[in-house]
Amino acid sequence: MRKNNTINRKDFFKTLGSATVASLATAYGCSPKKTQFSTAAISLDDLSSMKMEYRQNPNSDDKVSLLGYGCMRLPTKKISETEREIDQETWNNLVDLSMEKGVNFFDTSPMYCRGKSEQALAIALEKYPRNRYFLSTKLSNFRPDTFSREASLSIYRDSFKALRTDYIDYYFLHAVGLGGMKRFKARYIDNGIMDFLQKEREAGRIRNLGWSFHGDVKVFDYLLETGIKWDFVLIQLNYIDWKHASGININAEYLYLELTKRNIPVMVMEPLLGGRLAKMNYYSTRLLKQKEPEASVASWAFRYAGSLPNVLTVLSGMTYKEHLIDNLHTFSPLKPVSEDDIKMLEEIAGMILDYPLISCTECRYCMPCPYGIDIPGVFAHYNKCIIEGIYPQKKEENDYRKLRRAFLIGYDRSVPKLRQANHCIGCGKCIELCPQRIDIPGEMSRIDEYVERLKTEALNQTE
């Protein structure tokens, strides 16, 4: 209490003291070190204050969460030696957590998880009012015996039944481009399905009509010229595919720009390139961790994809809770990548491309191989060994014996002998099923030759 208008010494120090404390507290609270990544992104505690980022669909009122839940890789549990089934309880928990934290977009298809994905999703979403989430599914008629009008219609109608809904927010023509124009015409035009779906949109049973793309750019260009109003398009986009798409894939840069030119919202799939951008070689990991020590390697790929302004949602197949939590951290809200960041990611893309990796995303569309080969298993082992440096090239290498042993024993551990690459007969049935259009028999042959040279200790001999 001041008697005159002067502050006595006691008060002065008191004020100074509390001011110091207050400013320290504020300084601490506003310290630049405390970014949204300052705590390890595996706990939920700090998420409570974070808010999921949403993007506005330019054609409707929809506010779609930038993180979309992909339902192709649902959690499974073992029920017998060779059979696995969807672990519904775990899935329910994952959906609950994601809904709680603001995810409202769920993407599925009638063929995912051996046909069980849609109904598993419906069960998980049962407790929520229908208007709290967006459902997306697809016309997945990949096999020629489903091209007929009746077959396609029954796939369409079955989706509604499985999802227990009378409208679908986002409906896709699935994997347009595989098989080129010929196949596209057979699947959608000759049987009148394209017209049918547009009518369904008019009737309100489909709210947004679009397509997902893999493969032949001619189909892509054709669809953009048809004059049909597309509400969205789903493309494969990540910092490798942006300018260095492999195999039959088209550079995402081209696809994205063409779509943005026409004001069509873009949805992103394979932001992690099938998981290959979630775990990488030692040096690349260091680069990423140097910039953000407590951010996951995967977060960079998501930030890259989500930084593009015309992206409506980035789909991620989060099988494990820790991945969901990490993504929630990344997207609440998304911290865009800077020019510098992009340069670093380009460098890393270059390093990854230098490795003779096989561009398999383990989507398992190729399975089952009629002759029993475990295609994703063989590729996964091979890729893993390359990334971890278990890939001796010369007998004179320092650790040749150890690496050889690690490669061969690891091979037998991951893939049963009868399902290994040397049993691939090259029938080619898998090639047309692969969305990445990997030359599977060719890669099998390449891996087999390498294994043979390792076994016979003839590494130094070239062909």
Partner: protein, 492 residues
Amino acid sequence: MGLAVASITILTLLFLDFSATIHACLGWMTRLQFIPAVLSFSVGIIIFLIVFTLLFGRVYCSVICPLGILQDFISWFRARVKKNRFSYSKPLIGLRYTMLVVTLAAIIFGLASFVAFFDPYGAYGRIASSLFAPVYQWGNNVLAYFSERAGSYAFYNVDIWMKSVSALLVAAGTLVVIALLSWRNGRIYCNTICPVGTLLGVLSRFSIFKLVIDVEKCIGCNLCVRNCKSSCININEKKVDYSRCVMCMDCIETCKFEAMRYVYSFKKATQRLTEKENASSRENTSRRVFLSSVGLLAVSGILEAQEKVAEGGLAVIEDKKIPKRDTPVKPPGSQSLRNFSSHCTACGLCVSICPNQVLRPSSDLMHFLQPEMSYEKGYCRPECIKCAAVCPTGAIHEISAVEKSALKIGTAVWIRENCVVITDGVNCNNCARHCPAEAIQMLPIEPDNPKSKKIPVIDAERCIGCGACENLCPARPFSAVYVEGIENHRAI
């Protein structure tokens, strides 16, 4: 004796060690065995063993022969409960010498399969590879399981499979019979049936170092008789039957009066020993220390299922059936069917060592239990020459990998009705692609049609019979390509 324990341990390990690591330095122990030495006509070893027996008696039977050491172990085990259970018995001369003559005749006429039955090394080998090896492999697989969990490559999983029902039954039967005989009567097999025992017995009768009973000290208590496994001490006449004594030295140990001695002696057995001999002989006797032999891990192994189920599922793979071959396929190095069948003692060492699961005992009566090859589990890989390296009888001669690459042991045969190109209408060239001899080419079914599917054609003059085609052919359960054996192997 420590030596005996070491001997049987090493010999057993030679059959168990599927990685063939110890064979490099210790493989010679199999070549020291008598019948293998005879079959491979290793003059040096035969002479050595003969001289050794002429000097020291049938020490071979207690220290080198694994079946003998096994019987000693069983006998010792029994003796812990029922002590002093033996008694003197007269030799069964007729049976012994008949067995010896018959065995010699079989060797001369090349019927090694018959010899194999009574060869103690062969018998033990079959027991080790059919009965002990799976247990060892179980133990290994348990270690491999934990090794995998720990991210270590120190141990790897091996396939445990029954290579031959008949071999298993014969081995089990042999073990039961031997166990029963030694449980009741010590070394009765060695002195009535075993041709090696009988032959060495002929020599040991004249051995320079003998067991001698000191009549002055012997009071006739019969303790030595009751502990003599070979039932060969005739205490009434104070004589030891040297042709049956296996030099186990149990009698020396049990005699409380030091009346049994192992001495240099050209004289008759019952002669009184001089003071000097008394003194020196005391130094010769030694206490035996019994060490436990190979501890078998009785671990119930868990074969880790390595089936991973994919989202899209994994196709079921049927087992391949073993094709009926007109001529069996025998390992490279065996030179000819005749050489192999007249030298192989069916010990199963090569079967245990084959890393590709190709060798297995035959159930064909003419070559009973002698190994043959089949390719449904693996094929005879070009860089592997393990079977040739370990064979002690010369049934499989040693060869180098280079020699093997041009050594023909069989010919591949294509079966049109089974080929998936025909039955499934798919492109396949797995046989041609993996043939190390480049003996298979793919040619179009319709030469004028550029889109024609291709079928394999086999050049019999280039094929070496390694079985890569049979193993990697996708047609199941009946392979579309399989290997027929040839009677005489040749270089091509």
